[in-house]
Symmetry: C2
Subunit: 355 residues, 2 copies
């Protein structure tokens, strides 16, 4: 099997042990004689998987008491709607920091049952920075932001200071470093970056917000529905939750998020150092706001494009074509990417320079 | 590996080749050197999977021109809400035939943005029959029914006659026999019975209904959103769709739904014949409305319970405990169940009688 250096922005690289154990579970789960995916979600076997996944999220993120962990469906995109429905209070108004495509889509859904207000935005410069020094208006029921912007390659380095209930879409950087969960009313994330395969969506919800919305919520969009049934109100996405549980075990086995963060810092610093050193490349966003998950960069000389594309292709690098909104290249370096793969990319960049 | 006879109501048995090929794809998809679940959903490889899955649905169900096939998330439970949003027209009123728990849940969501009207119901006799001879009132935007009732073990043998646009939740009997798709405006189904693992939801939608709702629809609940983006508006549940595609290939390889129906009829007739013959057992629903997917039955003499439970347990039968709403036993005989497994159950019933 050839070694591919997988820089895909998501779905993305997961740990080799996750692939191996998930593959085996599809054939015969824990010697039950049954495939994981043909067992009832109410079987003791799968109920134990769900419970372990939930407990590992709590342990790895040091989730304080008073929060519920849910595994739902629909991705962050359905989450945008669920956030607005569940967080609207007397003002029926949510504040949004719009730093990219996903943040703007989240804002849009708030206008369905209330009002979405732009509190700060980086839309003026193609989302190439994280807004700072903005004032949060009064009369908001919540403040929403997207911690990491996969497409544009920016990342919040600090949690916004606010007295308003805080909600964060952490789809593309959750589990990449420790976070202070106590600052948030809701954290949510599509699984398909650092957590597991596409098809599951993680919610970490402060219990005191449940049942407090000022708008009527359809059954499946009401977080209380799922909290009351331990994420088993309807059939959950069994395989995605199982593979997420395996990934959480793997994170724990490496020493948790403090260790994971060190590895992620080393990878990002290696690549950004080369982007800054090599005269043939430049980054596309403000240096202090650079994402440690998704590095976006372009060639300073577009005539070198064919030569560079051949170099990384020959090195078995995949998934680094930039999003059409930015162009150039995007190297996604999620938890499971070894630093050796980043070195292969850096070497290709150096080779281009030396030619 | 011990042979388990898996009568689970869902998630349920799938074909052995599906488990084998899905297991392999998790390790190395088509010799790409990448796992299926670490590839971008926009990679040529996965786009081809989505396209083949869609085309196989069309081919196997003989879907006429003018329909779009979608693979979404959220199960039929989110479908209940999507149906109501997308089908409400000038009357803002949907008719429902309530034949069980799922049909009643579907009705409930219609009241969120319109009105759900009970057109006919079997609630008076614990959903033990399919209503007949009812009148469909005027002023409905659509008529909704659930073709097979997994919990109660009843099944519509005929498509309801109506001039109103027809919508059907076929979660638990789609792909079990040929159907005339042209009679429906929307068919939808959670994957986790005859189609694939939990986590994907199939929609077959008449194109002329798209964009015609009289109510404002949130982005992710609007079927037009997904139709315009070929089910790729956001990251789809990659693994569930892939395994569904494998299952569809398997159905085709067996000769399609005409052959599948013959096998399902043989299995159901074998079991129902024993339920009717054996004085120790009786069915729980009207004979003419019996489900060919989920057979529900009880002991005529409850003192035999321990003896029977030991017999089927010893025979490696799993998943036949009845739902708490009905009690007794429920034997689910989905497409992938071999008739040999049904024979093992019938033998256990005969052994109980002979003791």
């Amino acid at each position: 099997m050839k070694k591919v250096h997988n820089f895909s922005a998501g779905p993305c690289i997961l740990a080799p042990t996750v692939f191996e154990e998930a593959s085996q579970a599809i054939l015969n789960y824990n010697n039950t004689g049954l495939s994981l995916i043909e067992m009832s979600h109410r079987s003791p076997e799968f109920v134990a998987v769900m419970e372990e996944a939930r407990n590992l999220v709590k342990e790895i993120l040091s989730v304080p008491d008073g929060y519920t962990v849910l595994f739902l469906q629909g991705g962050a995109s359905l989450g945008f709607l669920e956030i607005a429905y569940n967080m609207m209070r007397e003002h029926k108004k949510g504040g949004y920091i719009t730093t990219g495509a996903w943040a703007s889509k989240a804002l849009k859904e708030a206008n369905f049952m209330g009002e979405g207000v732009v509190v700060a935005s980086s839309d003026d410069k193609n989302n190439s920075y994280i807004p700072k020094g903005y004032t949060i208006p009064s009369g908001l029921d919540y403040l929403h932001y997207t911690s990491n912007n996969t497409i544009f390659g920016t990342q919040f380095k600090e949690i916004p200071e606010t007295t308003v209930p805080l909600v964060c879409d952490m789809s593309s950087d959750i589990f990449s470093k420790p976070i202070d969960v106590s600052k948030f009313d809701i954290i949510y994330a599509g699984a398909q970056k650092n957590l597991g395969p596409a098809g599951a969506t993680l919610f970490i919800v402060k219990d005191t917000i449940l049942g407090k919305s000022s708008v009527a919520i359809p059954t499946m969009l009401n977080l209380e529905t799922h909290a009351k049934k331990d994420s088993m109100f309807n059939t959950p996405p069994v395989f995605s939750i199982y593979a997420s549980m395996l990934t959480l075990r793997w994170i724990k086995s490496l020493g948790g998020l403090t260790e994971i963060e060190k590895m992620n810092n080393a990878k990002a610093e290696l690549l950004y150092a080369e982007i800054d050193r090599n005269p043939l490349f430049k980054g596309t966003v403000a240096k202090e706001d650079r994402s440690y998950m998704n590095a976006t960069f372009v060639l300073t000389d577009e005539t070198k494009k064919d030569a560079f594309d051949k170099l990384w292709n020959d090195a078995n690098i995949s998934g680094i074509k930039g999003h059409r909104s930015v162009g150039g290249y995007r190297a996604s370096m999620y938890n499971a990417m070894p630093i050796e793969s980043v070195q292969v990319l850096v070497d290709a960049m150096k080779t281009l320079e030396s030619k």
